[in-house]
Symmetry: C2
Subunit: 157 residues, 2 copies
């Protein structure tokens, strides 16, 4: 199987397959006598694994570890679970950060008329953030600590 077929079969672009090989995430592919990379079903299986992990937001670094564990018949599932839980925690953090941004911005937008006049609480908010009291508190269990670290000096009065 050539790289194009492997790409189609795995859902990973040929470009990325070469890249994963270059950075050592996957072993160097075999070569045909005309120097084309060759792949088999196992390789495609690995590539699908990588694609799935990427689609769940795992970094290449984490995927390297997951691949090792995947190939190790004697791994402890606890190791895998720990990686997964750590990644879930990271996702939570990023979600909360984005939610805090969204909420702060929504708060500003709600107070903006959005007409032809120049008065604009959004611009004022960006300019004078220190004196505005944004989002009146976290909206989610996980997010309390995150929203404070936004660079918005929340004067939660």
């Amino acid at each position: 199987m050539n790289i194009g077929q492997a790409a189609k079969a795995s859902g990973v672009s040929a470009k990325m397959i070469r890249h994963y090989e270059a950075i050592g995430l996957i072993p160097q592919a075999g070569r045909s006598f005309s120097n084309y990379r060759t792949y088999n079903e196992r390789d495609v299986h690995t590539l699908r694994f990588i694609r799935q992990a990427r689609s769940l937001g795992f970094s290449i670094k984490s995927i390297e570890t997951l691949l090792d564990l995947w190939r190790d018949q004697h791994r402890a599932s606890a190791e895998v679970k720990a990686i997964a839980l750590a990644h879930i925690a990271e996702l939570e953090t990023r979600i909360c950060e984005l939610q805090a941004m969204r909420d702060a911005l929504r708060y500003l937008a709600e107070h903006c008329q959005g007409d032809e006049r120049p008065d604009c609480p959004i611009l004022d908010g960006l300019a004078e953030a220190q004196e505005v009291d944004w989002c009146q508190g976290g909206h989610d269990e996980h997010c309390a600590k995150v929203s404070g670290g936004l660079g918005l000096e929340t004067a939660t009065k």
Copy 2:
């Protein structure tokens, strides 16, 4: 005021101030006779505006526009609001993507014993995604369409 003081006063690193100047986001700073960049309170104000906007996740491109509007006494607030609303929508999209990842991963992790044995639904899920039925439906108003595009062929049976 030198760049270091401007950095401290604005919360934008000296490195980034130079960068913003290089890409034309802010005008070229004046220079002292010894070729040091000099800043005044207005410049610091602008830098704070930029920092605030970045902390809300606006791209440099958007901030360029926002800065122009900020400086334009005759802008229509509708223009600003449109940019803000578009950005809120982007944030929503990214939030939903991350939530979909988290939920799929949480689903896998819940079924993993996490002990010393090698059986691992997480690895199995990554390897055999096509045949697993992940997260049994969206959990949020906005997210219905997003979770499908995750690369997880959800067999919502």
